[in-house]
Symmetry: C2
Amino acid sequence: MTSEADLGPRLSRRLAYLLKRAMVDLDTLHEQHLRPFGITARELAVLLFLDGREPESQQQAAAHLGVDRTTMVGLLDALEGKDLVARRPDVEDRRRNVIVLTDTGQATLRKAMRASDAAERQLLAELDDREAAQLRELLKRVTSGRA
Amino acid sequence: MTSEADLGPRLSRRLAYLLKRAMVDLDTLHEQHLRPFGITARELAVLLFLDGREPESQQQAAAHLGVDRTTMVGLLDALEGKDLVARRPDVEDRRRNVIVLTDTGQATLRKAMRASDAAERQLLAELDDREAAQLRELLKRVTSGRA
DNA sequence: ATTGATCGTCAGTAGAACTGACGATCAGCG
DNA sequence: CGCTGATCGTCAGTTCTACTGACGATCAAT
């Protein structure tokens, strides 16, 4: 792949380049580490989001996760097919589905999160703990500014 | 859009979330700031790459930029259509095109780079200069580790 | 009861990137 | 020289993803 020295300093210091690069690398690492659990990083994000929340409708969950409502259908189809989440009719509003984690989903979430932690650690292998926390904090402030 | 508080701390601290969020935001900002120049962030990256390098073939440039050779064709078609780059036959190897910046391309590059700088500044508005440099440095070390 | 909006779903579409192939050209080898 | 295999830029076709628009079902408001 691209080695930073080949690009000269100009492009390799642009934020867009650095961010994309980090994201692609993290995607690759996640793919490797999550393969044993048969889920993608994105599906893990859904599981993580559903856990520790009051049950929510598909569309609420979609909005919070920033994905289109029609995309969420397929995402949940996949997760439901793996028995990780369940759609249950909302008793208060029968248009809605309430999405809940199954027991299998809970267990998979716990294990997959450890794998994801490992992927993150591998991405940040060059940094010590203090620097890793610093990077996380800076990114958090950057994104939270725009809510 | 998604407000960080809504997600709870779990998802909003994951690196994948933070990186993607930052990238999407930066993309949006780039789109706004680059609109006057009629180029995308990606095209700017190509211009920036071509500038300050010995003229190179399409495929070499594509490899360095990490895009597919067939994708580079369309990318250059667009840039050539805007008179920002020119394909010239390589005298030493007539299979190849040498890609060069036109004068217009040079001028556009300079102006667009200032716009891109502004986009980056806006993305990092929450950080002071020292922190912004720190973030850049940490990201650089993260990515350069994997060359 | 009627109107307008929202829910989940699905078909169709649009865009981006890749695969595989093509003619043209090059390098190596006899 | 001539042949063979590889590389260059290009293009057609495929794949993948996300979106638009529509649908029946359901809700809320009047």
